[in-house]
């Protein structure tokens, strides 16, 4: 072989026919002169031939029954997905009323385990359970997908706000600057107004209503608040178990949208 480069990489295109006539000609000229590439070409051709002779259909390994069940199984999973979150939120609501501050984080862990359990049980039960129609994918012309995302963001931002407020230190005699919090809570109230016009599930609406009084209080507070205002807000948060509820709502929404996040990389 002379100084000319081997054409190994081009052989695939050549053999699979994905090549222009002029390029083909060049390959053929090289093949006539180069034993090495010629041998390689023969081997690759036989590999391709064997491949095309191979009947590859793992799907044939499943029974006819399996395939008639398959679409039904998919539908069940779609329904289970839609209703799991609602069950989680109902659970949050129920627990939120009963749990005191010290145990809430331990319960949060228990809750996550329970949620996973619920999901598994859901898969078993989805067939028999009466579940709201999955056909309703749009409401008022706004895709539910978008409403989901905005609700998720609403709970996340509320969570950050509540945690920040609950941990806020007040220095005696010095007013606390709440201007940023005020702005955030006004934005969140606007967002809640928008979201409540959408087809939210009952427990999402309930949780939003629980948060609302604190947001209203905050939105109407003085830019620089005295200790009583800050204490009042903090009490409102702690008494209503809002940290716990918001955190759990966040988990409920996050876990159901995890697949959306994973999917974000697959854009059409």
């Amino acid at each position: 072989m002379r100084s000319e480069k081997h054409i190994l990489e081009a052989l695939y295109d050549y053999l699979s026919g994905e090549m222009s006539e002029s390029e083909k000609r060049k390959v053929e000229v090289h093949l006539q002169r180069c034993n090495e590439c010629n041998a390689e070409c023969d081997k690759m051709r036989s590999t391709l031939e064997r491949l095309s002779a191979l009947r590859y259909a793992p799907s044939a390994g499943q029974s006819e029954e399996f395939w008639s069940e398959f679409p039904i199984a998919v539908e069940r999973r779609i329904q289970a997905f839609a209703s799991t979150r609602e069950r989680m939120l109902r659970f949050v609501h129920w627990w939120g009323k009963r749990v005191n501050g010290a145990t809430k984080y331990r319960l949060a862990t228990a809750f996550i385990i329970l949620a996973i359990g619920t999901t598994v049980v859901m898969k078993w039960n989805a067939g028999e359970t009466q579940i709201p129609s999955i056909a309703e994918k749009e409401h008022n012309g706004i895709p539910l997908e978008l409403v989901d995302q905005r609700t998720q963001r609403y709970f996340r931002q509320s969570g950050v706000l509540m945690v920040e407020l609950a941990n806020r230190k007040h220095y005696e005699g010095m007013p606390t600057d709440l201007s940023l919090e005020r702005r955030v809570s006004r934005h969140l109230l606007d967002e809640a107004r928008f979201l409540k016009q959408q087809s939210l599930t009952p427990y999402t609406t309930k949780l939003m209503s629980d948060i609302e009084p604190v947001l209203i209080e905050l939105a109407n507070s003085e830019r620089h608040s005295e200790k009583p205002t800050v204490d009042l807000l903090r009490d409102g948060i702690l008494q209503g178990n809002l940290l716990f509820k918001v955190r759990m709502a966040q988990i409920a929404y996050d876990s159901s949208s995890r697949m959306r996040i994973q999917y974000a990389s697959i854009k059409e």
Partner: protein, 183 residues
């Protein structure tokens, strides 16, 4: 089903017609399953991945542009779900993986023993031992009969990358086959 029929069905599925979506599932489930299997290499995970992919397709049907090909869009989801599942599998202990792999190939043997000659079985086994991307590319292109362009769109890489994987995959395949023959 013609392309126009399918477009109509997709349109109906988008507006929330469950029957239409079921039709789409029925039409594409076997191919989706085969693609998933080519990556995850066992029936249980292939079933899981294929079903999961359809659930995602349902959730994100809104985002599907009707001027592009539904199968390409769907198979891309299948590939992504399957690759994720392989990543999870790799996190399991290697002993478990070996075990499931042995089970999978045992199941494979059982299934094809009547239709396929020994040589074919060898061939399939060797194919299954290729690195994931090489195997996926070879199967999609040569066993599922998709074009290089479709494969590149499903795997979200350039056609050049697909061809590189194809070339290496085929070469690996052949070398491993020769190695077996020599033994």
């Amino acid at each position: 089903m013609t392309a126009a029929d399918e477009q109509h069905i997709i349109h109906r599925a988008k507006t929330g017609d469950n029957g239409a979506f079921r039709l789409l599932v029925s039409r594409h489930m076997k191919q989706a399953y085969n693609i998933a299997y080519s990556i995850v290499q066992n029936h249980q995970d292939a079933e899981e991945a294929a079903q999961d992919a359809f659930v995602r397709a349902f959730r994100f049907l809104e985002k599907f542009r009707e001027d592009s090909e539904f199968s390409t869009w769907l198979y891309r989801i299948v590939v992504n779900v399957s690759l994720n599942s392989v990543k999870k599998m790799k996190r399991r202990t290697s002993r478990e993986t070996d075990c499931s792999h042995a089970l999978a190939s045992a199941a494979g043997d059982d299934m094809h023993s009547q239709e396929n000659s020994d040589a074919m079985q060898h061939f399939e086994k060797v194919l299954h031992d290729l690195p994931t991307m090489q195997r996926a590319v070879v199967i999609l292109r040569h066993l599922d009969g998709l074009s290089t362009k479709q494969v590149s769109s499903i795997l979200q890489c350039s056609e050049g990358t697909v061809k590189t994987h194809l070339f290496r995959g085929l070469r690996n395949l052949r070398e491993r086959l020769e190695f077996i023959r020599q033994k």
